[in-house]
């Protein structure tokens, strides 16, 4: 295996789905070997990509842009409708962790039986088992049926198994966001270790931060087409500008990212809400700036977050929760109307609005996300969680470290002699 060899080569690759609904027609088209007739949905079109051994490529784009389709094509789970695909080396796909697990069997049996799916014999899998158990940190649960696992344990075992095969190519779809904090960190370390050992990495995430820290090159997909392909910093900057501009300019397209619903949606008749709630509008204001991505300076701006919502009028008045999270995922601060004893008011349609005011925001330098949750009256059940509803870029003067600056005062005393 020459270190300069090509690991992945895609030429003119596209994937389309037939929108044909009638089963007999689909069957007939497939039998005739021309599934391309009739109405089509193009998930991916005309993609050219070459990836060298040891290179890492990030894939960004909004939901429905074709990211997952591309990963599935590379893994060979899907076959391209057009174009050719060449992939060399053993692939470990972290697409859906634990896809081959059977809930009735124990962890040990599942690992052993999944070996062949990863290209290992049961014997080889047995040899790796202690290391897998160790990494997954699930102890004696390995001999319990998988259905008794917590979701964290399940994912840890699946991750440990999938990455234990020393893959040449690692395909990751948002896998880093799984598991608890400690494990997320360790899985990240393992991916880095595999990467250093020369594995080619294909990484798809909504977190541009993660993508930038892991990948040299980034591919930006938009509506199934390549929007941009180049060095990570450039592409991510362009992508962030694009997303930011869209939020600012209220350039409303129907397909904003799932985590960021449109700025303003039409209220619905209450009947359509049955037991549900939804956010109608989200907006952040600080000084002159209005939008979803703001640039702030430490302690200089008052930040105001406007949230408009609609909840089935038959339900009790909802609560709104704000969580401020650092880019590394640390919860910095939070506030909730229920916790603060604030009662939200609604009109007959169930619509209401609330503004959260954070005076002279004392955040220190860095990037932060604000998550907004529309929740039940006790703040327990989320009707709508919006992760990264707002993004903040904060600058500061001086070298103060940490997330926030606490109000403080130094009191020098003259030493009494």
């Amino acid at each position: 295996m020459a270190p300069t060899g090509i690991a992945i080569a895609l030429a003119g690759v596209g994937k389309s789905y037939s929108l044909e609904q009638r089963p007999w027609h689909r069957l007939w088209q497939q039998l005739l070997g021309r599934p391309g007739r009739g109405p089509q949905h193009h998930a991916l079109q005309g993609l050219n990509l070459e990836l060298m051994r040891g290179e890492s490529l990030g894939i960004i784009g909004r939901n429905g842009a074709g990211k997952s389709t591309l990963l599935q094509l590379v893994c060979g789970v899907l076959d391209p409708s057009t174009g050719t695909r060449r992939v060399e080396g053993r692939i470990a796909a972290l697409l859906e962790l634990g896809a081959g697990f059977n809930p009735e069997l124990t962890g040990r049996e599942n690992v052993r039986l999944n070996g062949p799916l990863l290209g290992l014999s049961s014997g080889e899998m047995d040899r790796r088992l202690p290391e897998i158990i160790e990494f997954a940190a699930i102890g004696e649960f390995i001999d319990q049926p998988v259905r008794s696992y917590s979701s964290g344990m399940f994912v840890r075992l699946a991750f440990a198994m999938a990455t234990s095969v020393e893959p040449d190519i690692l395909v990751i779809d948002e896998a880093l966001s799984v598991g608890d904090g400690v494990f997320a960190r360790r899985s990240f370390d393992r991916i880095m270790a595999l990467k250093e050992r020369g594995a080619t990495v294909l990484f798809c995430s909504h977190s541009t931060y993660h993508v930038e820290s892991l990948c040299q090159r980034v591919l930006w997909l938009d509506q199934g087409r390549v929007r941009m392909l180049g060095p990570a910093a450039e592409v991510i900057a362009a992508y962030n500008d694009y997303i930011g501009a869209e939020a600012h300019g209220m350039d409303e397209r129907s397909s904003m990212a799932q985590s960021v619903p449109p700025m303003a949606v039409e209220a619905q008749p209450p009947a359509a809400l049955a037991g549900q709630g939804r956010l109608l509008a989200l907006q952040a204001r600080a000084g002159e700036q209005v939008g979803r991505r703001l640039k702030l300076h430490c302690g200089r701006h008052d930040l105001e977050l406007d949230v408009a919502f609609q909840v089935d009028p038959a339900l009790p008045a909802p609560s709104v929760i704000m969580a401020l999270v650092s880019r590394a995922g640390t919860l910095v601060a939070s506030a909730g109307t229920h916790n603060d004893g604030v009662q939200l008011r609604r009109d007959a349609q169930g619509r209401g609005q609330v503004t959260l005011r954070l005076p002279r925001l004392p955040l220190l330098k860095g990037e932060y996300d604000i998550n907004i949750y529309l929740a039940c009256e006790r703040g327990l059940h989320y009707y709508v969680p919006v992760l990264s509803a707002f993004e903040l870029q904060v600058t500061q003067d001086g070298l103060e470290q940490g997330f926030v600056t606490l109000e403080h005062e130094w009191i020098p005393k003259t030493p009494s002699t």
Partner: protein
């Protein structure tokens, strides 16, 4: 050819074992259920046909009690039929049941059909073991014609594999098969020479029996166990049919396969 088969079996066997283990995990009787089911059916059918309708198996030797002889011949045929019926019914939703393997993992899907057949083969083996035991216990003894089994069983398994591939591919596209096939199987039971020997069937049925791919395996199975004469004309014709079905089933599967991931 042989190394490829070996490799395929190595991959398919864990899947089959996984499904067998998962199926009986937590049930007290476990694998015994593969016996209890068919034996209960044999008892019921034998009681009805022999006890109520006074059916007799022509040519069963004297000295044996009629009821038992009838039940054993019934059992031999039913073993073949229930294997076929189980494969056909489960194949129609095979891809849907393994959706995660179809959609999320790179997996040679032909092996799912093979794994299904292997599972049923395990049940088949257990049931044949019991048949042996019963035959020995009733004192009729093992026949020399049992030497046919090494040829007969692979044939049956190939037929099952053809059905598994064909039905699992079609079942992806035509969901109605899931409901239709089990129904058709209960009808097919009476159109197969399970309750009566092939050559005793009325003329009306005879034509259908020639077309029924199960006629020859069922007849041959019974002939092997009880030393009855083989109908070589039927055997030869249906063997060719089974081989054709295997080629056709695999071709159909390969042809339809690209659509699976979009459909399950």
């Amino acid at each position: 050819m042989l190394p490829a088969l070996r490799q395929a079996l190595q991959l398919a066997w864990p899947l089959a074992r996984r499904d067998i283990a998962a199926r009986y995990r937590g049930s007290v009787a476990g694998l015994l259920w593969t016996l209890i089911g068919p034996l209960a059916m044999v008892a019921i059918y034998a009681a009805v046909f022999q006890g109520v309708f006074k059916a007799r198996w022509p040519g069963s030797g004297a000295g044996e009690s009629d009821g038992l002889a009838y039940a054993l011949r019934l059992f031999a045929g039913l073993i073949v039929f229930s294997a076929f019926s189980e494969v056909a019914s489960r194949a129609t939703r095979l891809m849907q049941d393994n959706a995660s393997l179809v959609k999320r993992v790179v997996f040679p899907l032909e092996l799912l059909g093979l794994a299904l057949v292997l599972q049923v083969a395990v049940h088949l083996a257990v049931q044949l073991g019991v048949l042996t035991l019963l035959v020995l216990l009733t004192g009729s003894g093992l026949q020399a014609s049992l030497l046919w089994l090494p040829a007969l069983l692979p044939w049956l398994l190939l037929l099952l594999l053809a059905v598994a591939w064909g039905f699992s591919a079609l079942g992806c596209y035509l969901r109605d098969l899931q409901h239709l096939v089990p129904l058709a199987m209960s009808g097919l039971l009476f159109l197969s020479p399970v309750f009566y020997p092939f050559d005793q069937a009325p003329e009306v049925l005879r034509g259908l029996l020639w077309l029924n791919p199960l006629s020859a395996p069922i007849e041959a199975m019974r002939a092997a166990w009880f030393g009855l004469p083989m109908n070589f004309e039927l055997l030869g014709l249906q063997l060719v049919g089974a081989l054709l079905a295997l080629v056709l089933g695999l071709a159909l599967f390969r042809r339809l396969r690209p659509g699976f991931a979009d459909l399950v």
